[in-house]
Symmetry: C2
């Protein structure tokens, strides 16, 4: 924590602000009236590669040496970090190998291949992605682009917080609450650092899928805890087994608490967001909005910022009748 503060996020933004999209920050009259509060949604599902992950990957890759760039990179990811690393590499003519679970959404595997990455599928029930990644890195001198436990990645994700703060300031809005999804915790660690710096009174909450609420139980116990049971969730982007070694101390410092939502709640909110925000959100990207809309925290008469973190959902079912 003493190693990480808002200055790294501002440096990261200098590295990537001409690379990433400044994503929309939108409000819905209907939702505001429904909840009796003022809600702003940060649409990182409209980020390049369809999630915030492109910010961190772009920052990490911008900081590689030329030797490292020539030797290539390797990453493991359920899909959004995979696409982000693949595309950031492709743009910089860097060879990339990406290790993905064989049950990842088709859209994520296909996009990662489209960005010219060499995709290696593994069985998440029997194999360990970190082990595979580290072996490849060692054997081929590749740099590992970690999904969250790297200050350059956390700072990159945190740049979304700079844009949120700028939008709030231009509207003269003081935010009361920030709700953000949490897998390994990189996005919320980075963005909450910046938002707490600009708005010290803001209360930040992580939101996780039920049974994958390792950050929530770790925050409650004050020490890193693993998810106990082997379950599954439609929130494929948020299935990290435990908080990160770097992200958890930051989140312990910044967060007021942790929230959890069920898959069924998320399933009901995705069509709601399609109807009222006109936007396509993947399950993991919808958990913060789900916590908002299912009363997981008191929001009456408050100014709330909600992170919509990704939109890479298989759309086979989306047909016009």
């Amino acid at each position: 924590m003493e190693n990480f503060n808002y200055t790294q996020i501002e440096e990261a933004y200098n590295n990537i602000k001409n690379t990433v999209i400044k994503t929309p920050f939108v409000s819905s009259d209907y939702i505001n009236k429904l909840l009796g509060s003022k809600v702003f949604f940060k649409l990182e599902n409209l980020q390049i590669t369809g999630s915030f992950k492109f910010r961190g990957a772009s920052n990490k890759i911008a900081k590689l040496s030329n030797v490292q760039k020539n030797q290539g990179v390797v990453a493991y990811s359920s899909g959004n970090h995979a696409q982000a690393v693949a595309y950031a590499s492709f743009r910089n003519n860097i060879n990339s190998k990406i290790i993905m679970p064989n049950n990842a959404p088709k859209i994520k595997i296909n996009n990662t291949k489209k960005y010219k990455a060499h995709v290696i599928l593994y069985d998440p029930l029997t194999e360990n992605r970190e082990t595979i990644g580290e072996e490849i890195a060692r054997n081929e001198n590749r740099t590992i682009i970690r999904p969250y436990d790297d200050f350059d990645i956390i700072a990159g994700q945190g740049t979304a917080g700079i844009e949120i703060a700028e939008e709030l300031s231009s509207l003269s809005i003081n935010p009361d609450i920030y709700l953000c999804c949490c897998g390994g915790g990189g996005l919320i660690a980075g963005t909450s650092t910046y938002l707490k710096y600009k708005f010290p009174k803001i209360k930040c909450y992580s939101v996780e899928p039920e049974k994958f609420d390792d950050t929530k139980i770790s925050l409650e116990s004050g020490t890193i805890k693993k998810n106990i049971y082997k379950h599954n969730s439609i929130c494929d982007a948020l299935l990290a087994p435990q908080p990160g070694k770097l992200t958890f101390p930051i989140n312990t410092n910044n967060l007021t608490g942790g929230l959890a939502v069920s898959d069924n709640e998320v399933k009901s909110i995705i069509p709601f967001l399609a109807e009222h925000l006109k936007t396509i959100v993947e399950p993991g990207g919808a958990v913060a909005a789900t916590a908002l809309l299912t009363n997981k925290v008191d929001i009456k008469n408050k100014n709330i910022v909600v992170m919509i973190s990704g939109g890479n959902i298989d759309l086979d079912f989306f047909t016009i009748l």
Copy 2:
């Protein structure tokens, strides 16, 4: 035309800029690479009430006298103008009656009722909505809020053009082409007036559904022509029978030409926009993007602005499997 220019649009923006949402202006790396051009989408589907129509209705209502406000308003509309007038009235404590076809999308009828309008359904095959509206206006001393043939409405819709011009200027982009849907022609008349004022060399094209391309054939013949056949189209928002008396002279002056797209083309583009722009677009709101993506005009190496005008599509089919 001599009666209408950019100054009325700037006045309208002064009236409504604190009422309407400054909607996002987004670009997709994937689409830009696919087309070999730089495309910017103006997301008016994220406007209040789900379409650009809220701009014109808000401007018209802002200009009513107190006596007119007390006597109430009446409007006829297939749905997006209906919702816009209903909600702009509701916000200003004005009583509204809205005449809608009985086959309008459920979402549009339901939202109009939700905004406390008194909805009167008519049969579009046997009844004339203008006649019904004028009779109500006469009998009840209500002001008619016309869908497009009113300079205050055209100026209101044109305010989207101010925001587009500001975004383009901040990016130092000179636009080559502007593609915009066209029903009665209010949106394209207003926005093209402002864009031609700021970027005199821009080529503006109207986009209509096939068989409802009355503006295209009217532009080609130089005089107002009606759609000849009785057809149907999924683009419920764009079924005006002929160009407006006020909008057509403006569009004749501003437009380079008219384009038409088929329902099947539109059906293929809506899921494409959901996947790549992560946004929900109704059929009528997707025709300009459809013209872009089905090569209706030469776009190679050009800077293109595409209007996404509305998102009020029935989402019964949108379920998470």
